[in-house]
Symmetry: C2
Subunit: 401 residues, 2 copies
C-alpha cells in the first residue's frame, strides 16, 4: 500500500509511510549492472604528485568553496571494464565529451563533508561513512554504478594526507571535501550512463558567517516547491539544486537571504536553502519540544540533522520529534509566545539561526538568540567541540582509522 | 491568486491558471544580470576548420545521438565581460573545472531540434525559433544569461552549412541539433553561475524506430512523479531528465519500453518518456476528440506537440482539447470501445503509437493502428512531408532564411 500512496499527495501518508520506491532503490542491485562487491580498491591507488604547491589563502580570506588544494582523486568506470584504479593527481580541469550524460541530463550527484585540524594536531573527519552511504544511495537512484564506500573513504583519506597542509590550523575553519559522481557516456538519448567518473576535490573553507553567528531571514513562498513525492528530494542529486538558484535570487529581491521551502496546501516547513530546519518551542501540550521534518523522501537526510537529533535525544531534557509541521502551527506558537528558537543545520554552517520569515507578505519575527542558554548555540558549541577534538567522540575518524 | 495556488495541489487550479512564477520568469529580466539586448552576434563568429572530416556512418547504422559532425559551436559568457565571440571549431572535448556549477548543481539545460535534407536538395530546419524561445525561457529559469535567439540560430545555421555533408541525404534520417548551456563558475556554493558556456553539437540520426512504425508499451505507476507545481517541469532543464533514468530502467524490468508519467491522486496522464502524449477518442458526449495535457507548468511545451495541435485545429475535422484527463477516463473509454488511438510526440520520433499500458498491475490494450485512416499515421505523413519539403510550409527555414 505504501507504494500506492507515494505518487499522490495524501500528506499524512507521505509523512508516515516509507515510499515503496525508496525500498526498491535500497534493495535493487539487480537494476545496477555492478553489485556493490565489485569495487575499486584503495590499495590500487596511483599517485602523481604536483610539482609545486599553490599558495594557501589566509583563513580570513576564505570564500566557501572557492579554493582548492593541490591534488584531486579520480576513479573511472566503464560498463565493460568496471571500475578503474583510483588516481590521485595534480588538480586539473576535466576533459569531458560535450554530449556526456552528466552535462546533458544531470546524471550527476555530489556529497559535502569536512575534515578538521584538531587540538591534538591530528586531522579528523566527521562521520564520513554517513556521507559514503548517502552517496551510494544517490548513485543507485541515478542508475550509476555502486562500490565499496569504505574503499572510497580510504582513497579520500589518502588524498587528504597528501594535501594535509591544506587543512587549516584554525578552530574557525576546516577542509571541505566534495565527492562528485557524473555520467560520462557521450550519447544524447536519455538513459543509463555506461561510463562515469567519480572524483573528489577538497579545499579550505572559513567560518560560514564571517561576522560571527549571524541569523538569517527566510522567504516562505508556497508558489515554489523543492521536492515532491515520487521525486528525488531525499537524495543528493545535482538536479535538486539548479532549479533552486532562481528562487534564491527571487528571495534576495524580497530582502531575504534564503528560501524556506514549504510543501503541501497546509504549508509544511521542509528545508531552508541547503539546510535542514529545526524548531524549538513549547508545544500545545506545554512540553518543550525540538521538532524537524521527517525523512519522508522530501528532505535531504542531513548528517548534521541526524547528529543534532542524536545529541538531543541523549540529553533527555526535552521532547525530540520528527514530524510534519506547518506554518499555521509556527504562527500560533509565535502568537502565544511559545516559539523559542528556529535554526537550520548543515555541513557548511553547522547550525544557523533564523531571525525572521517573510510569509504571505508579512514578516514573522523569530525570538532572538542572545542568552547563553540558547539551544542553537549549545548545539554549535557541542558539535564544534567534537569537530576540533576538544571532546573526544566516536563520530570523528582520523586519517589512520 | 494564481501564485497562491501553484505551490499546492489543487489540481483544477494547476490546470487552468497561469502559475505566477511562470509570469515572473517571463518578465523578470531584472533578475538576470544581462538583458536580452546584450547578446553575442553571429557576424562575429570565428571559424577554425577541421583538418580532416571523420568518416560518415551509413544511415542504417545510425544510433540516436551517438554520432557527431566535424565541428561544434561555442560561446562563452562571463559576468564581467559579457558574451564572447561565437567560435566554430573542430569537435572536441570540453575542458571543465571539476567544481563547475553545471557539474555540481545541474545548472544546465539543452534543446533538441532537427535539420532535413529536403527533396529540392536544400537543407531546412523545422520551426527553429520555437526552440530558441524555449532555450531562453529555460536559461532565465536557471538564472543563466539570455541573448538574442535569432543570433544563436544564425550561428547554428553557419555550423550546419560548414558541416552540411553531415545532413543525411535520406528521407528516413536527419541532422539532430543539440544546443546545450552550462554554468561553468568553479565555486561550490549553490548560487547563480557568473560564467557559462553555450555550445551546440550536431550529428546525423536515423529513423527513431529502425524496424518501422513500432508501437510502444508504457508503465503508468503513480509512485513516480516527473514534475510538480512550483517546480521546473515546463522547462528543458537537464534536471528533469537524470531522475527519470532509474524509472525507465524500472519500466523495462516490467516489460515496458517507456514511462507514462502520471500526476495527482486522480492519475492524470502527462507525458511519455521524453514525449508529449495525445489521446484520440470519442468523448462522453459522442464527439471525436484529440486530447492532450495542458501547458500548466508540469509538461514540456513540445514543438511537435504545438505543431500537431495547429495542424489538427486547421483541419476542423474533430474537437481538439488541451485539458487534464485521467486514467479513469482512459479506462472508461477503453471499456466502452471509444478509445481510438494514443501516441507520443517529440522531435526524436515525430509521433509514436502506444500499444498497451501497464497500470495497477493490469495491461490496458490500446487499439492497434493498422488501417490507413489512422490519425497517428496521418500526422506522421503530414509532418514528414513538411520536414523533407514535399509540401512547402512556413514552418521550415533554409540556412539562408
Amino acid at each position: 500500500m505504501a507504494g500506492r500512496l507515494i505518487g499522490v499527495w495524501n500528506v499524512k501518508a507521505v509523512s508516515t509511510l516509507q515510499p515503496r520506491w525508496v525500498q526498491i532503490c535500497s534493495t535493487s542491485s539487480r537494476l545496477t549492472s555492478t553489485a556493490a562487491s565489485a569495487s575499486f580498491k584503495a590499495s590500487d591507488v596511483q599517485i602523481k604528485h604536483a610539482e609545486n604547491s599553490k599558495p594557501k589563502p589566509k583563513v580570513e580570506d576564505l570564500v566557501f568553496g572557492a579554493n582548492f588544494s593541490d591534488h584531486m582523486l579520480e576513479i573511472e568506470y566503464t560498463a565493460d571494464k568496471g571500475w578503474g584504479k583510483p588516481v590521485i593527481s595534480p588538480f586539473h580541469n576535466l576533459s569531458i565529451h560535450p554530449g556526456a550524460k552528466g552535462l546533458q541530463f544531470a546524471v550527476e550527484l555530489f556529497e559535502g563533508m569536512k575534515a578538521y585540524h584538531c587540538v591534538d594536531n591530528k586531522i579528523r573527519l566527521f562521520r564520513p561513512m554517513e556521507n559514503m552511504k548517502r552517496l551510494l544511495s544517490t548513485a543507485e537512484r541515478l542508475s550509476l554504478p555502486t562500490f565499496d564506500g569504505r574503499e572510497l573513504l580510504k582513497c579520500i583519506k589518502k588524498l587528504i594526507s597528501i594535501d594535509s597542509e591544506w587543512v587549516p590550523r584554525s578552530l574557525e575553519s576546516s577542509l571541505y571535501i566534495r565527492p562528485t559522481f557524473i555520467g560520462t557516456e557521450p550519447t544524447l538519448g536519455v538513459g543509463k550512463s555506461t561510463s562515469s567518473l567519480l572524483y573528489v576535490i577538497i579545499g579550505p573553507v572559513g567560518p560560514f558567517f564571517k561576522t560571527g553567528f549571524k541569523p538569517v531571514s527566510l522567504l516562505a513562498d508556497p508558489q515554489f516547491t523543492r521536492a515532491w513525492p515520487g521525486g528525488v528530494g531525499g537524495y543528493k542529486t545535482a538536479s535538486n539544486y539548479g532549479p533552486t538558484v532562481y528562487v534564491s535570487n527571487y528571495a534576495i529581491q524580497k530582502d531575504c537571504q534564503q528560501v524556506l521551502w514549504l510543501f503541501g496546501n497546509d504549508h509544511q516547513l521542509t528545508e531552508v536553502g541547503t539546510m535542514n530546519l529545526f524548531t524549538f518551542w513549547v508545544n500545545e501540550q506545554g512540553e518543550k519540544e525540538l521538532v524537524t521534518a521527517p525523512l519522508n523522501g522530501l528532505i535531504l537526510p542531513g548528517v548534521t540533522r541526524k547528529s543534532l537529533l542524536e545529541l538531543a535525544r541523549k540529553w533527555h531534557e526535552f521532547k525530540v520529534t520528527e514530524r510534519n509541521y506547518t506554518m499555521a502551527e509556527v504562527q500560533k506558537a509565535l502568537n502565544e509566545n511559545r516559539l523559542l528558537e528556529m535554526f537550520g543545520s548543515g555541513t557548511a554552517c553547522v547550525v544557523c539561526s533564523v531571525e525572521k520569515i517573510l510569509y504571505n507578505e508579512n514578516w514573522l519575527k523569530i525570538p532572538e538568540v542572545t542568552e547563553k542558554k540558547s539551544l542553537t548555540k549549545r548545539f554549535l558549541k557541542e558539535l564544534t567541540d567534537i569537530h576540533y577534538g576538544k571532546v573526544p567522540h566516536e563520530w570523528m575518524e582520523t586519517l589512520d582509522d
